[in-house]
Symmetry: C2
């Protein structure tokens, strides 16, 4: 957690520090991110940085919290939840679409949150991931359970595994979007997403009639 000192800073300096850190983590990832570069870009002294944050991890943890906060806010705004007529596929579609829309509007934040997921092997990250796990895997498991109860889903599937698959596929889509596409032609990308969701829904095999 940042120190009181950091919170007391005037908004513009605070933003300079945060933006600089976000740039750095998005470009270099956690391990290779350099405090020296961060403080240079933010135009503050090395010593000042250590008045604000305990260490590099402390800063990273804070940035991740920011990212998830903003992402949740963004997604919740985009999703309309009339809970009475719950349709799993509809809900899932909205989630995924909102996810890439977020990535489109917040490319760097999206990259940082991907880097977290992709490196969950790193011991240091376990602590952070556990904090946000309920938002991920478990959420999908609950959604799936509900959909199963309401008969929207084949009941011969492995629930735990498929929720993992769905959870991961949402990142997969974002990854594919950020890597293979010009973030700007978002509209051209949407049909692909529909395609993929369709496939998880119906499969790729041609039915014999």
């Amino acid at each position: 957690m940042p120190s009181e000192t950091f919170y007391n800073l005037n908004e513009s300096k605070k933003q300079r520090v945060l933006n600089s850190a976000i740039n750095e983590f998005a470009e270099y990832g956690y391990t290779k991110a350099s405090i020296t570069r961060i403080v240079n870009e933010a135009k503050i002294a090395k010593g000042s940085f250590y008045q604000y944050f305990e260490n590099k991890f402390d800063l990273f943890e804070y940035i991740i919290e920011l990212v998830f906060e903003r992402k949740m806010k963004y997604i919740n705004k985009k999703i309309n939840t009339n809970n009475d007529k719950f349709d799993f596929f509809e809900y899932w579609r909205m989630l995924n679409k909102a996810g890439i829309k977020f990535a489109k509007d917040n490319k760097q934040l999206a990259i940082i949150s991907l880097s977290l997921i992709k490196n969950k092997d790193k011991n240091e990250f376990k602590k952070i991931i556990d904090k946000f796990q309920p938002v991920g895997n478990e959420m999908f498991e609950k959604l799936l359970e509900k959909a199963l109860r309401e008969g929207q889903i084949r009941n011969d599937i492995d629930k735990k595994y498929i929720s993992h698959l769905l959870y991961k596929s949402s990142f997969f889509i974002t990854e594919y979007f950020l890597e293979e596409n010009d973030v700007d032609n978002f509209d051209e990308f949407l049909p692909l997403v529909e395609n993929m969701m369709d496939i998880i829904g119906f499969g790729i095999k041609k039915e014999v009639d």
Copy 2:
């Protein structure tokens, strides 16, 4: 590429160096892997190492080549190709199964090859990945094309995207296998793999009859 000197080494020393490097890369990944630890474990001098390899990257490149070579050999051995009656789903099933079987029998090698895929953002790795790309993405694209021509697959799917999905899903399966499972109970894992392939084949939606 290793130097002549390295190739001239007696087999046992060569193996000591390679095993030590494989251990190191599997445990720490490329960036955090330490030459000092590698030479200590291999019981050779620092200087000797630099007689064998230009630098850390040179060593890594060589290890990756080894990994892919062994993996290809392994998979080709497991796959029976009676090409006359090609069945896409059958072939794909065999590929995936052989893939996790390889991971089971060569855990460290599998981890290293995953680390490569997972960090394809790292500029240094691009060169290596390009070298092995034809084995990955493009192979699936060709398989898909053939399957489409032979009417085994829905023709309203996006070919490029789906081949990417299939390519990635093979790593996804391996990843899930290595992370969430005791590598030893391979047999308990197989049904899950079938389940996943089944889903990509048929989807998860319950059909209304």
